[in-house]
C-alpha cells in the first residue's frame, strides 16, 4: 500500500523533473547504504550480546593469526 500509494508516485514525480534523472538513482544508493549499515549493526549488536556468554578461550578464528 505504502509503495503503490506513496513511494512509486514520488519516484515517478522526481523522474519527471526536467533535466534530472536522479529520482531513481539517489533512492537506490540510499537503500543500498542503509540496508548494509542496518545489517552490519544487527551483526555487531548480536555478537555483543553473545560475547559475554562465551569464554575467550572458546573464540577460535577471532584472531587474524592462524589457530
Amino acid at each position: 500500500m505504502l509503495a503503490t500509494e506513496f513511494v512509486i508516485p514520488l519516484l515517478d514525480w522526481s523522474f519527471e523533473i526536467p533535466g534530472r534523472y536522479w529520482g531513481y538513482v539517489v533512492p537506490g544508493y540510499v537503500i543500498a547504504i542503509v540496508s548494509i549499515l542496518a545489517y552490519g549493526r544487527f551483526i555487531l549488536q548480536r555478537s555483543k550480546s553473545l560475547a559475554s556468554k562465551v569464554p575467550v578461550e572458546n573464540r577460535r578464528y577471532f584472531s587474524d593469526r592462524p589457530d
Binding site: 555478537s47 556468554k53 577471532f62
Partner: protein
C-alpha cells in the same frame, strides 16, 4: 574494538568506506550520463557489483555445504550460513536497484521475464535456506539438511546467469566483461563499485562468521547445561527411589 573485530576487519572496513566514497564521487559526480540510459546508468555501478557479491556469498555456501557433508566441519558449516545470509542481502539489493533502473530504462519496475523471474526465485530459495537454518532441530540434522539445500540452490545461480542466453529476455545480455567497451570514467566507476561491494562483503562475512561461531558455542553450552540438569534430576530421582526401597 567490538567483539568480532580484528585487524583484518578494521582494514576491510576502512577500505570499504574509502572505496564507497571514491565510487560515489566518480559514479554520481565525475562520470557523465549515458547516451540512452541518461543518469539511471549510475544505478548499474551498485547493481552489477551487488550481483558479484551475492554470487560470491552463494558460492561460499556451496563450497561450505560440500565440505560439511564430507567431513562435518563446523568451520565450513558456519561459513556456508554466513555466505547465504550475506548473499541474500546483496540479492535483495540486486532486485531493488534493478527495479529502480528498469522504470526509467524500460518503463516498468518489474517484468516476469526469465532473468528477473529466475533471480526472484533465487532470492526466495535462499530465504528458504535461511528459514531452514532457524528451525528448532538438533544442530547436526539442521546443518546436514541446510547443506543439501545449499548445494541444490546453487543450480539456480547457473540458470540466472545463462537465462538471458537460453531464453528471449527483456534483460540485456552480460554487459560487463573482459571485452567491455565503455567510457573510461564509467568503467572506472563500475570498477570502484565492485571494489566497494566486495570489501563490504568481506567485512560482513568475517563479522557474520564470528557471530555464527559465538552462536554455536552458546548453543553447545545450553545443550550441555540442559544435559547436566537432566542428569542431576535423574540422579536425585534414583537416590529417592533407592531410599524408598530401603525403607
Amino acid at each position: 574494538m567490538n567483539d568480532t573485530g580484528s585487524r583484518l576487519t578494521k582494514l576491510l572496513g576502512i577500505g570499504a568506506l574509502a572505496a564507497w566514497g571514491a565510487m560515489m564521487l566518480w559514479g554520481l559526480v565525475i562520470s557523465g550520463p549515458e547516451v540512452f540510459q541518461r543518469d539511471s546508468v549510475r544505478l548499474l555501478y551498485i547493481h552489477v557489483p551487488s550481483v558479484f557479491a551475492a554470487y560470491t556469498g552463494f558460492g561460499i555456501t556451496l563450497v561450505g555445504s560440500v565440505i560439511y557433508l564430507r567431513n562435518k566441519s563446523r568451520f565450513w558449516d558456519i561459513a556456508a550460513h554466513a555466505g547465504a545470509e550475506i548473499g541474500t542481502l546483496f540479492m535483495a539489493l540486486v532486485l531493488i536497484t534493478g527495479a529502480l533502473w528498469g522504470r526509467p530504462t524500460w518503463g516498468v519496475y518489474w517484468q516476469w521475464d526469465p532473468r528477473m523471474t529466475s533471480t526472484a526465485v533465487l532470492f526466495v530459495t535462499y530465504l528458504g535456506y535461511l528459514a531452514l537454518r532457524n528451525l528448532d532441530l538438533p544442530r547436526e540434522v539442521r546443518s546436514r539438511r541446510a547443506a543439501v539445500v545449499g548445494i541444490v540452490s546453487f543450480l539456480n545461480v547457473i540458470i540466472v546467469r545463462y537465462s538471458v542466453q537460453w531464453w528471449r529476455s527483456l534483460h540485456q545480455e552480460t554487459t560487463f566483461g573482459l571485452d567491455t567497451q565503455l567510457d573510461d570514467s564509467m568503467l572506472f566507476s563500475w570498477f570502484l563499485g565492485t571494489v566497494a561491494m566486495m570489501l563490504t562483503f568481506g567485512w560482513l562475512l568475517v563479522h557474520r562468521f564470528r557471530l555464527g561461531w559465538l552462536e554455536s558455542q552458546v548453543e553447545e553450552q545450553q545443550l550441555s547445561d540442559a544435559l547436566a540438569e537432566r542428569r542431576a534430576d535423574a540422579g536425585i530421582s534414583a537416590l529417592s527411589a533407592s531410599k524408598a526401597e530401603a525403607l
